[in-house]
C-alpha cells in the first residue's frame, strides 16, 4: 500500500480549521451516483465509450458559514466497492474535499479541491486465460493499492426544502495535463441534519 499519511494529515487540518470557528453549522449526509471518467473508457468491441454506470456513493459534509452567502464545506465520501465484470478484482473510490459554496437564495455554486483515492484490490492466485494458441495461468494481484489524485471540484446545487438539497458535481482530474485529463460527474441528494 502506498503512503497515504500525508493527505490524511491535511484532511485533519482542514477539519480543525473549520472547528476553529467555534461553530459547526449543518452536518449533512449525501447519497448519489458517481460516473467515472466519462467518455474515456471503451465499453465494447465496437468502440463505444462509457457514459454513466450505476456506481452509488455516500458522503458526509459540514457547512460552515463564513459570510451570509459564502460557506466552507469539507466533505468525505466513498463509492461502494464493486467487482466489475471480473470477481477477482475489487475497486472503490474515496474522496476528501474542501469545498466552498456561494449561495443565492435557493441556488448555490460549488467550488473546491481535494483528494481522490482509487483503491484496487485482489486476493492473489491465478486466472487461466488465453495466451496465443493455448492458455496460461496469469497471476492476479495480491493486496490493495491506492492511487491518489489531486482533483478540482466544480458544481451547483439547489435547496428543495429546509432539510433537502440536490447537487451536481464535476471532479476534474489532471486539469493541466491534456493527455490524462478526465472528468467524473456526481449527482446526489442531501439530507441536512441542521446545527450540531
Amino acid at each position: 500500500m502506498q503512503n497515504t499519511k500525508y493527505p490524511i494529515v491535511l484532511l485533519i487540518l482542514c477539519f480543525f480549521s473549520s472547528m476553529a470557528l467555534g461553530y459547526t453549522y449543518d452536518a449533512s449526509l449525501s447519497v448519489g451516483n458517481l460516473c467515472e471518467y466519462i467518455g474515456k473508457i471503451q465499453t465494447d468491441e465496437n468502440g463505444a465509450t462509457n457514459s454513466c454506470e450505476f456506481n452509488p456513493y455516500l458522503s458526509a459534509s459540514m457547512e460552515v458559514p463564513l459570510t451570509n452567502q459564502f460557506f466552507v464545506s469539507p466533505e468525505a465520501g466513498f463509492s461502494f466497492p464493486k467487482k466489475g465484470r471480473d470477481e477477482n478484482i475489487s475497486k472503490m473510490s474515496l474522496f476528501l474535499l474542501a469545498n466552498t459554496k456561494y449561495k443565492w437564495n435557493f441556488f448555490y455554486l460549488i467550488g473546491g479541491a481535494g483528494f481522490y483515492f482509487t483503491r484496487i484490490s485482489a486476493g492473489g492466485g491465478t486466472e487461466e486465460l488465453n495466451n496465443g494458441n493455448s492458455t496460461s495461468a496469469f497471476p492476479l494481484p495480491e493486496g490493495a493499492v491506492y492511487s491518489r489524485n489531486f482533483i478540482l471540484n466544480a458544481g451547483l446545487g439547489f435547496d428543495f426544502a429546509k432539510n433537502v438539497s440536490a447537487d451536481l458535481h464535476t471532479y476534474i482530474f489532471n486539469l493541466l495535463k491534456s493527455e490524462d485529463r478526465a472528468f467524473s460527474i456526481l449527482v446526489n441528494g442531501t439530507y441536512h441534519f441542521g446545527e450540531l
Binding site: Y6, I41, T43, D86
Partner: protein
C-alpha cells in the same frame, strides 16, 4: 532472491476487465517515465512488416499517447524514444532459452526501458504460427524492478501484422507495451489487454486503467499541482510533510480571522 519469479511468455494472436499480471512478483519499472525504443538489428531491418523502423516509431508514439498515457490514475508515462542499433541476434534469435518455460535469452537483455525489434525467427522458436503477431518478455530484472523489456514483432514472411490497418497496428503495439511494463491478459473483450485483437479498438478499457493504476498508482501532491511534494523525478518518495503542515496552519490562521465576521446559520 527469496521470491521465485515466473515470467510469462506472452503472445498476441491475430484474432488479438479484471486485469492480470505478466509475472508472479508484480514487477514494475522503478521510474515514472519509460521510453519505448525501436531496435534496428545489424544487417537486418524490418523486412516483411510493410513498415520500416521510423514508421514503427511513429506507431509507438500514437500507441502510447492514444492508450496508456491517458490513464488518469497512473503515474507511468510512456514516451516514444528513438531508433537504436542493436546486435544482429535481436533480429534472428529466440526470446526465451529453448527447453524452458521462458528463461529470458540473456544475449537479448535490454539495458533499459522498452525495446521493440522485428524478428525473423530463424529457428522457428518464437512464432509458432503466422497468426502470432508479437511476443513480449521483461528480460532484464533486478529484484522486483524491470530494467528492460523486449518486444519482438513477427517479421517472418508469413506474418499477419503487415495486413493490419494502421489503427490495428497501433493497438497491437500498445497491447505489447502493456505486457512490457507488467500487465498480463484480461478476460474482457473491450480491454486492450484482451488476448486477441478486435476491430474497433479506440480507448483503454476499465481493466486496463485499473491494471496500470495498480502497478503504477498516481501519488499527486497537495499543493494545487504547482509544487511536487511527492518526490523527485526518479520516483523516489520523499514527501515534503513540512510544506503540507505549513499550508495547513496558514489555512487555519485565515479561517480564524474569519470568525469575527457576522455569521448566518442555515437553521
Amino acid at each position: 532472491m527469496k521470491t521465485l519469479i515466473t515470467i510469462f511468455f506472452i503472445i498476441l494472436i491475430q484474432s488479438a476487465e479484471a486485469f492480470t499480471l505478466n509475472n508472479s512478483a508484480t514487477l514494475t519499472f522503478n521510474k515514472n517515465e519509460v521510453k519505448v525504443n525501436i531496435g534496428a538489428p545489424a544487417g537486418r531491418s524490418c523486412q516483411n512488416l510493410g513498415v520500416d523502423e521510423n514508421e514503427l516509431l511513429s506507431i509507438v508514439s500514437d500507441a502510447v499517447d492514444q492508450y496508456w498515457n491517458r490513464a488518469p490514475t497512473s503515474r507511468l508515462k510512456l514516451r516514444a524514444g528513438s531508433v537504436k542499433s542493436v546486435t544482429a541476434a535481436f533480429g534472428t534469435d529466440e526470446i526465451c532459452v529453448q527447453g524452458t518455460s521462458c528463461t529470458p535469452n540473456s544475449a537479448l537483455a535490454v539495458d533499459s526501458d522498452i525495446l521493440i525489434v522485428c524478428n525473423g525467427d530463424t529457428n522457428n522458436l518464437n512464432f509458432s504460427t503466422p497468426g502470432v503477431l508479437a511476443i513480449t518478455v521483461p528480460n532484464n530484472i533486478s529484484g522486483k524492478s524491470i530494467l528492460g523489456s523486449l518486444i519482438m514483432i513477427n517479421d517472418k514472411g508469413t506474418n499477419q501484422f503487415k495486413y493490419k490497418s494502421r489503427d490495428e497496428k497501433i493497438s497491437i503495439i500498445a497491447h505489447e507495451i502493456g505486457h512490457a511494463f507488467g500487465l498480463g491478459h484480461s478476460p474482457v473483450k473491450d480491454s486492450l489487454m484482451y488476448y486477441a485483437t478486435v476491430n474497433m479498438r479506440k480507448f483503454l478499457g476499465a481493466d486496463d486503467i485499473d491494471g496500470i493504476s495498480y502497478l503504477y498508482p498516481k501519488q499527486q501532491p497537495v499543493t494545487c499541482g504547482s509544487v511536487d511534494t511527492t518526490g523527485d523525478s526518479t520516483g523516489n518518495k520523499n514527501p515534503n510533510t513540512w510544506l503540507g503542515l505549513l499550508i495547513g496552519f496558514i489555512f487555519i490562521a485565515l479561517v480564524n480571522q474569519l470568525r469575527y465576521l457576522k455569521l448566518r446559520p442555515r437553521f
